[in-house]
Structure formats: structure tokens, C-alpha cells
């Protein structure tokens, strides 16, 4: 029985980060103060206890994505996993070729890393996406060249929630002898990931998008056939020499438990989230001149990215302070540039600026959704009342025909 009251602000920004599930927290905490040993200490029980916990967690991560636990490397988060995968593979295989392929809606951790490699002399093709945010399989295929060594395409987009055709892209990469890296930070617990059937070589995971702690992630590195990487964090040789650094037991235990819950509860949770999303969508589409960004079918149920025409972006964000949401991804919301993801879909600047990403999660209630719908309707109405552009639109004036005078 869901509560009818809401606590403000209502958190609808689960794609930016999630609270640690209380069950995850209680599993983690003993490893901070009680079982605090360094997992690399081989000479005493504090070390052995910590090591055992680390390996159990590794199994849990492996089980969610159906891979061998030896294929899971711990990192400090998805940003590091993306860095390790892309730089590590590019450097290792650079004698085979120097061409890399990715697409324009990737997270900055992928795009900036690709740019870094360009500075080092690699060539990168940044593919456009279709209007629905999806990578075209044919376009992808044509972009691969004999000297292409690595492609990177995310499984679920963080801003618009679309699911890329990784299965098909994997098949193509396998045929062409190109490594495929997939950023799955937004995917775990939301879509099935089966590394037995996906032809993916490297996959990045984050804990804090799946009700685990911040500061911990993992990278899947395929063993059959074996994928090699140049490690990026050097030192004591941890994680088979691929990623040195004392393992943070409590973080790892947290990630393991979070991924275990995801595996066990994803089915039921997705249904509940889908119901809430559909309710939100039904409420919002009743507002005139609203556009959903990203394919409506190939998407996770947790995300709804909506552009509201004839509403100024900053005013909109100010008006909905009772909602904790994003306009543009969290990592770029400090700068007021229009979201590059929305621009890649073909949205113009104004529409990109006046878009809101609603992301629903484990603790979202129906009452919160209803409150949100009411609030948005009210505020959009009010903002449009004050908008001369809206007035012109209502009068039937085609704004594209207007000669605007310059200031």
C-alpha cells in the first residue's frame, strides 16, 4: 500500500545517482570498522576475511551479467572502467591499427577519452545517431575499416534511456575482428545483460547507478577469446596486473550486494517502474507541444526525457524546485550548454534547453508521480502564459517565418 504523502523535493534523478539500498548498506558497513583487513594481506585472518568477501562480490557481479568471475576487474567507477577499456585496448592493439569508432551520444567519460587518444595520434569516427537516438546498424557497419581496432557504444543512454542494438553491433564487430566496448553503467538492473550471447569484449559497470555506493565500479574483460589491455593504474599488481590499488572491501561488498538484488528483483521492479513511467507519460503528453526524446520502444522503463516547447529552460528548472530532476546529464549540468545528446537527436538549442530528464527508481511512489504531473502541468501553464512566443504560436503564427530583429 503506497503512501499518499510526498516528501519534497521528489527525487526523480535516479540516472544521476541512486541511494544506497539499506540492505546494501548493512552488508557493507561491517567491512569498514570490523572486518577492515586489507584483502591483499596474506598472512592473517583480517586479510583472508576481506579477500573472501571480495571474491563473493565478484561472483555476484559475474552472475548478473553471466560471465566468469575472472573476467571482472574492480575499478573506482564507470569513468575509470571506460578509461581503462578504451585507452587500455587502444594502446595494446595499436600495432594492429589506429582507428576507433564511437557515437556522439556517449557519456563524456568515453568521448573525452576518445579525444585524448586523438591527441595521441589515433583516428576516431564519431557516428551520428538517428532521430530516435539509436545507432544505425548499417551506418555502424560501414564505419568499420581494416585498421579499426575498437568500437565503443553504450548499452543504455544516460540522458534519454534508449537501448542501443548491442547484440547486432557485437556480431558485426566479431565478424570484422574489431573489439567492442560497451558502457553499461545505466543498464545494470534495468535490462538483461547476457555476456554469453552478446559478442562484447569489454563492458563497464557502475555501482552507484544500481543502488550501490559511489566510488566503485568494474570492467568486464573477455577471456574467450582473450582480450588484452594495457593497465592504466600501475603498482602492486592487483586484479591480475590490470588495475593496481588496495581493494576497498566495503565498496566491493556493496557493489556485489547491489548487483545481487538487481538480479533477483529486476523483473518485478521493472514492471512497477514501467507502470509509474506510463502513468507519468500519460499525464505529461496531455500538455501541448511536449516531445519525448528518444525511441519510445527501445528504451528502459526508468527514463523519460521530455522537451517542453515555448518554455525557457532556466525558468522551467527554477519553477520545479520541488522536483530533483536533471536538464542534461548530471556531469555536464554545471555548464549551461544545451545537451549534446539532445542536439545529436536534432533538437534545436531552445528545445534542448527546455528539456527535463525524469528518471524513476526503486523508491519512487505513485503519489510522487501524481504530484509531479500536477506540478509540471501547473508550471508549464504559468510559464507559457507569460511567454510571447507561446502567444504567437497560439495565434497560428509560424515562428520559423518571422524575421527576428537582431539586438
Amino acid at each position: 500500500m503506497e503512501q499518499n504523502t510526498v516528501n519534497l523535493p521528489i527525487y526523480l534523478d535516479y540516472s544521476a545517482t541512486t541511494p544506497v539500498d539499506p540492505r546494501v548498506a548493512s552488508k557493507m558497513i561491517p567491512y569498514l570498522t570490523e572486518y577492515f583487513g586489507n584483502p591483499a594481506s596474506r598472512s592473517h585472518v583480517y586479510g583472508w576475511t576481506a579477500e573472501k568477501a571480495v571474491e563473493n562480490a565478484r561472483n555476484e557481479v559475474a552472475m548478473l551479467v553471466r560471465c566468469d568471475p575472472r573476467e571482472i576487474i574492480w575499478t573506482s567507477g564507470a569513468t575509470e572502467s571506460n578509461n581503462l577499456a578504451i585507452k587500455g585496448a587502444a594502446h595494446f592493439y595499436k600495432s594492429k591499427g589506429r582507428h576507433l569508432v564511437t557515437e556522439k551520444t556517449e557519456h563524456k567519460a568515453v568521448l573525452d577519452t576518445m579525444r585524448e587518444l586523438e591527441r595521441e595520434g589515433f583516428e576516431v569516427t564519431y557516428l551520428d545517431v538517428e532521430e530516435n537516438g539509436l545507432v544505425s546498424v548499417d551506418t555502424f557497419r560501414s564505419a568499420l575499416r581494416p585498421d579499426t581496432i575498437l568500437a565503443s557504444v553504450m548499452l543504455v543512454n544516460n540522458e534519454i534511456g534508449v537501448i542501443q542494438p548491442i547484440y547486432e553491433l557485437g556480431e558485426i564487430c566479431c565478424q570484422q575482428g574489431v573489439l567492442l566496448h560497451v558502457d553499461a553503467a545505466q543498464a545494470t538492473g534495468k535490462v538483461e545483460i547476457d555476456l554469453q550471447s552478446l559478442q562484447v569484449d569489454l563492458m563497464s559497470f557502475s555501482a552507484h547507478k544500481t543502488y550501490g555506493p559511489k566510488g566503485i565500479g568494474a570492467l568486464y574483460v573477455r577471456r574467450k577469446p582473450r582480450v588484452r589491455l594495457e593497465g592504466q593504474m600501475h603498482g602492486g599488481g592487483h586484479e591480475r596486473g590490470l588495475r593496481s590499488g588496495t581493494l576497498a572491501t566495503h565498496q566491493i561488498v556493496g557493489m556485489g550486494e547491489a548487483f545481487r538484488l538487481a538480479r533477483e528483483e529486476m523483473g518485478v521492479e521493472n514492471e512497477r517502474v514501467r507502470y509509474l513511467r506510463d502513468r507519468l507519460l500519460a499525464g505529461l503528453v496531455q500538455i501541448e507541444e511536449t516531445y519525448i526524446n528518444g525511441d519510445l520502444i527501445k528504451r528502459v522503463p526508468h527514463n523519460l526525457n521530455v522537451s517542453f516547447n515555448f518554455v525557457e529552460g532556466e525558468s522551467l528548472i527554477m519553477a520545479i524546485k520541488d522536483l530533483a530532476v536533471s536538464s542534461g546529464s548530471a556531469c555536464t549540468s554545471a555548464s549551461l550548454e544545451p545537451s549534446y545528446v539532445l542536439r545529436a537527436l536534432g533538437r534545436n538549442d531552445e528545445l534542448a534547453h527546455s528539456s527535463i530528464r525524469f528518471s524513476i527508481g526503486r523508491f519512487t511512489t505513485e503519489a510522487e508521480i501524481d504530484f509531479t504531473i500536477d506540478l509540471i502541468r501547473k508550471k508549464i501553464g504559468r510559464l507559457r502564459e507569460m511567454s510571447p512566443l507561446w502567444e504567437m504560436f497560439k495565434e497560428g503564427i509560424d515562428l520559423n517565418q518571422v524575421q527576428w530583429s537582431a539586438h
Binding site: P9, D13, A16, T17, T18, V20, P22, A25, M28, I29, L32, T33, E34, F36, G37, N38, A40, S41, R42, S43, H44, V45, Y46, G47, T49, S76, G77, T79, E80, N82, N83, K108, A109, D112, T113, R115, S206, H208, P213, K214, G215, I216, Q232, H234, G235, G236, G237, S244, G245, T246, L247, A248, Q251, I317, K321, A324, S326, C331, T332, S333
Partner: protein
């Protein structure tokens, strides 16, 4: 766990008060610090406060702190970050550095840097005359740890800085083991970069910091969004950072009492070790007060550690990061310690919770193990 923990250099338990400060940032104040809304702002404020605490503890401004995932990352960032922005030349790294400095140095050597190592004397101190020879205008970067993790020997970093400054060489110091066991003042040391790690100072694992001099630039190693002023991408580990901040504050608050306590404990411990015939490495050098690295002739280190473990004492043979390996410590090798002694190396590192009673029990257990191992060696 019923054992007496004597391996504080490997890691430390998180202090209760540090944990209490961290706790709300898991389930309750869970925001992403880059989010513009209220939930995110709470996280941002917490990070700013932690940054101030770390800065105060080291004697710098908050904008000189870069949060990382730990000591290894801080060391990697210092070496690769500096090297990435200056012309390739000579890199000087001591032979007793932690692997997280030694291995990046080797990586840089692969990229064309001329890697040079100063000698280390039998007391475990880096040779300053060697340093003076090496830190010429041809040198771009030097890294020497402030206190060695195995021997506890304090290195003459401030003197090395003076030598380096004559030729404009950038100086990094790994203070991961030193901070919390001795006074560390960034400006007094005069270095350009300094690494610390949370889990050596009763803070959480998975978080650390690199402190950099104002005006000094680094190439970022983790690329992505513009966290840490573009120097270290990745969603901030808010709980970890809050923990690191409080741990740093407590280091300063407790320095005097902890130092006195550790000196008392280690004084008793080392008298006892020597009475049993143990040789303490770096005995005559200036050391941090918690570390005793020693060996008994003809007694294998791992065997002794196992016996001590049976009797309820957690010790180390060399550093944790290398404790699976069977080669003798490169640190002892650099000090010229003969193999027959080096293979016996045991490290006892004490901490806040160590007591004199623990020391007495330990010495009694040590006596028992050493006698029995000597006896079985004699019979063999």
C-alpha cells in the same frame, strides 16, 4: 575477531567517529554532487567541507587538493600527470618506493624517460650525495617517499627539495605511510605534490588525495567530465571523501597523544625484539614511531608470521601489496641486507588501538615461536 592486529601499515579500521560522519551519505544524503538540485547540493557542500579539512591538515588551500580513489591513484596521477606536461628527460625515483611509484616510473622509462635511482644506505635512508649528482638540469621529475612502508625510515625529503629547486626539478613525495604518524607540512617540505590515502589513517579504503603546489600543472589521467577542476573525472565518492576529511582532521587533533603512545609501545617492543636476538632494519635511522621491521637469523619470515598467526597475532612479511610473493623485499635489497637475513623479515606496525599489554603478549609469543623454530632448525 579475537586476534591482536599488528599490521596497521597494511590498513587501519575506520574510526567510529569517521564512520558516523560518513553514514548519512550512503542511504540518506545520496545526491550526485554535480546535480544542480538540492539533493546534489548537499553532497557538494559535504565535499567542500571535507576538502577544507584535508587542506587544513596538510597546511594548504582547498583548491590544492585533488580527490582520488586512493594512494595508488594519487601516485600514478603525480608521476604520469607531471610527466605528461614536461619534456621527456630524467626521472629519479628511489629504489625503496612503493610499487605504485616504482611501476609507473618504469612505465615512463618505456616512454623514453631516463630512469635513475639513488643509492640507499644500510640504515635505509636515500643517499643525498647520489641525489645531488642526479638532480641536475637534465632531470625533470623526482619522487621519494616521506616514510618507507616496510622499515618506517623517514627520508630527507626537504633536503631533496632544496637540491631539486636548484635545477627546477619537480618533486613528488608519497606520504601515504607518513601522514598520521609524523607531522607533515606541505610548505615546510617544499614539494610540488604529495600523496595521501584514507585507509592508513583510520579512514575508509577507496579514497585518497593528491596535494599539489599552487601554479603547478598536471595532465589528467582519468578523462571524462570536469570533476576536480578537470584534473580527475568521475562521480565523487561522497561518503569516502567525507570520511577522508574527518580522518585528516583527527590526525591533527590526535597527533601528540598518538605519537607519545606509539613511542612508548614501540620502545617496549623493540627492546624485547632485540633481547630475543632480533635484528631491526633501519634501527639507527629516524623512523615513524609505529613500525618495526626485523628478522631473526635462520628463521624464515613467512613461517614465523604463520606461527604468530596461530598464536593470535596479525603481522606482515614485507608490504601487503607484495605479501603473496616469495622474493625478498627490494627495500632490504637496496639497503644491502644479506639474503639470509632478508628472508626472515617480519613487519610489526602498531596503531591507535595497540596497548602495552598487547606488546607484552606479543613478545611472549615471539619468544615462544623463535625458540621453537630455533630448536627445530637445530634438530634438522
Amino acid at each position: 575477531m579475537g586476534m591482536i592486529y599488528c599490521d596497521y601499515n597494511a590498513t587501519t579500521p575506520v574510526d567510529e567517529s569517521v564512520f558516523e560522519l560518513m553514514r548519512p551519505f550512503f542511504c540518506d544524503h545520496y545526491g550526485n554532487a554535480s546535480s544542480r538540485h538540492q539533493v546534489g547540493r548537499i553532497a557538494k557542500v559535504a565535499i567542500d567541507e571535507a576538502r577544507n579539512k584535508v587542506a587544513n591538515a596538510i597546511g594548504v588551500q582547498p583548491d590544492q587538493i585533488i580527490f582520488t580513489s586512493g594512494g595508488t591513484e594519487s601516485n600514478n596521477l603525480a608521476l604520469k600527470g607531471f610527466a605528461g606536461l614536461i619534456p621527456v628527460s630524467r626521472l629519479v625515483v628511489s629504489p625503496i618506493e612503493h610499487a605504485s611509484v616504482r611501476v609507473p616510473a618504469h612505465e615512463l622509462a618505456w616512454l623514453g624517460w631516463e630512469l635513475k635511482q639513488p643509492g640507499v644506505n644500510s640504515d635505509g635512508v636515500v643517499d643525498l650525495e647520489d641525489m645531488a649528482q642526479l638532480l641536475t638540469g637534465k632531470c625533470g621529475l623526482v619522487s621519494v617517499m616521506l616514510a618507507n612502508n616496510e622499515t618506517g625510515v623517514i627520508q630527507p625529503v626537504a633536503d631533496i627539495v632544496k637540491l631539486a629547486q636548484k635545477s627546477g626539478v619537480l618533486v613528488h613525495t608519497d606520504a601515504v605511510q607518513a601522514f598520521g604518524k609524523m607531522r607533515v607540512d606541505f610548505d615546510l617540505l617544499g614539494v610540488d605534490a604529495l600523496s595521501i590515502a584514507g585507509h592508513k589513517i583510520y579512514g575508509p579504503k577507496g579514497v585518497g588525495a593528491l596535494v599539489i603546489r599552487k601554479g603547478v600543472d598536471l595532465m589528467p589521467v582519468l578523462t571524462g567530465a570536469s570533476h576536480e577542476r578537470g584534473l580527475r573525472a568521475g562521480t565523487e565518492n561522497v561518503a569516502g571523501i567525507v570520511g577522508l576529511g574527518e580522518a585528516c582532521r583527527l590526525v591533527i587533533e590526535r597527533m601528540n597523544t598518538v605519537e607519545t603512545h606509539l613511542k612508548e609501545c614501540s620502545g617496549r617492543l623493540e627492546t624485547g625484539i632485540e633481547a630475543l636476538g632480533g635484528v631491526i632494519f633501519g634501527r639507527k635511522a629516524s623512523r615513524v614511531p609505529n613500525t618495526s621491521y626485523f628478522a631473526f637469523e635462520n628463521i624464515d619470515g613467512p613461517v614465523l608470521a604463520a606461527r604468530l598467526d596461530d598464536l593470535g597475532f596479525c603481522v606482515a612479511t614485507g608490504s601487503a601489496c607484495s605479501s603473496g610473493k616469495t622474493e625478498p623485499s627490494p627495500v632490504l635489497d637496496a639497503m644491502g641486507v644479506p639474503l639470509h637475513l632478508a628472508r626472515g623479515a617480519i613487519r610489526v606496525s602498531l596503531g591507535m588501538h595497540s596497548t602495552i599489554a598487547d606488546i607484552e603478549e606479543f613478545l611472549s609469543a615471539l619468544n615462544q615461536c623463535v625458540s621453537s623454530l630455533h630448536r627445530s632448525a637445530a634438530c634438522a
